[in-house]
Symmetry: D2
Subunit: 139 residues, 4 copies
């Protein structure tokens, strides 16, 4: 997995907490889903979409429908990690964010997270709104 040429990439940084580790002295594999979620929220903010008001005002939400993570190298307590996130694909049914997680130059993990859009009031799947379709990578 590589960052495609020309796509906008958002970098989000996090310092690994003690609570994020487990007794194997590495970051627990579930922790990355927390980090990835925060990175997507920052991606959206950088592109003019405030996820809080997306839910509260537009009454739409973006639940996760598929997760694919590959773990290459472990992160450790107090490491500074960089998550580089871009939109890999978007259509009316799905929005997929890809992320590479780095510690300095080392690539630790790959992630592909797919979201659908739901109408919070009707509690039903709906089409991605134009504001999200506009995030489609140019070819």
């Amino acid at each position: 997995m590589k960052i495609p040429a020309g796509v906008p990439v958002t970098t989000w940084r996090v310092r690994v907490g003690y609570v994020d580790t487990d007794q194997a002295h590495v970051v627990h594999h579930s922790t990355y889903l927390r980090y990835l979620e925060a990175a997507r929220v920052e991606y959206l903010r950088e592109h003019g979409l405030d996820y809080r008001s997306f839910e509260l005002d537009q009454r739409l939400a973006l639940p996760v429908v598929e997760v694919r993570l590959r773990y290459k190298l472990p992160a450790r307590f107090d490491d500074l990690l960089e998550l580089k996130t871009w939109v890999a694909a978007v259509n009316r049914a799905k929005l997929r964010f890809d992320t590479l997680i780095f510690r300095g130059d080392e690539l630790l993990n790959h992630a592909e997270i797919s979201l659908c859009c739901i109408d919070v009031v009707a509690q039903r799947i709906c089409s991605m709104p134009a504001s999200l379709l506009a995030l489609a990578p140019r070819s």
Copy 2:
């Protein structure tokens, strides 16, 4: 802290997960708040109060307003823990649950968790309903 004579006590058991540990090879101190919450939900269920319908149907909720935890001995991965929970005090303003956490005969932790009652619709503090005042320990 001891279990007062004559109070109803609910015992809830949990097996420590790998994710619950940290790199000190013990259960992370924040994990116990998850366990304690589940123990309170079971206490209420044993006393005829389903917390899900308390929120959904009665539109009341019991947020935590104070936590006091004393950690005596660490728990470790795969330990079987027993949480013994009772109502230490209740009045119109507050409901306090006390819990002792055991591994076999060893007392690991003490907890005192105080809750208030809020009206979910009004988003305002309200009086404890009769169903909770009825949990008052007899003297």
Copy 3:
């Protein structure tokens, strides 16, 4: 994804905690990795392998190298979930557990979790030991 005919399946049950939910009123997508881990530990225990002593005595560990999760339906607070787990594949390099997560008859999620084996002392990848190769599904 279906449970293959003839494979041993371990069922592990969990009641959804309040802390497991998020403000969308459903179980947060990261929570399932906690549940899945506990289900794998029980699978191993049912097959005579105590994961605690695997790490402490044999000085081996099974870190997660790949996660694939598909979320079909949301779980909610206080739901009772059943995780049905089996070994989908194992060779010297990898052990893959598949899990279906049910609420009663409803299938909520699919999971495929791949683990490798590491020598804890050398901090190096090693071959799966015979005790794990023996979990291979019969064809």
Copy 4:
């Protein structure tokens, strides 16, 4: 609880994640223990003590022995919080950090967290080292 005059205070900021919320639409009460831990690590770093090397090189650790939290106002998704942390007391047996958690000018929570010192190799309580005794507030 107020910040005592003249004590050094470390400010640590965090943006509330979606995963940090629960179905009451507020930050779950257990989440603050994660935030408080990160704030203490930054306090120590600002005072020349790297907690990672404290464990790895000095072979000492600072487990939590007592937690006291009072929750005044809820935090919500995407809020920016400020944790103001200082050393309230330290002696050979205990180190106590106090923290006030703010959202802008609003005080949300109070926390008092007490730690002891253990010798990691001997797995035994030991005296606070001079580097920590030096954090004592001046009177």
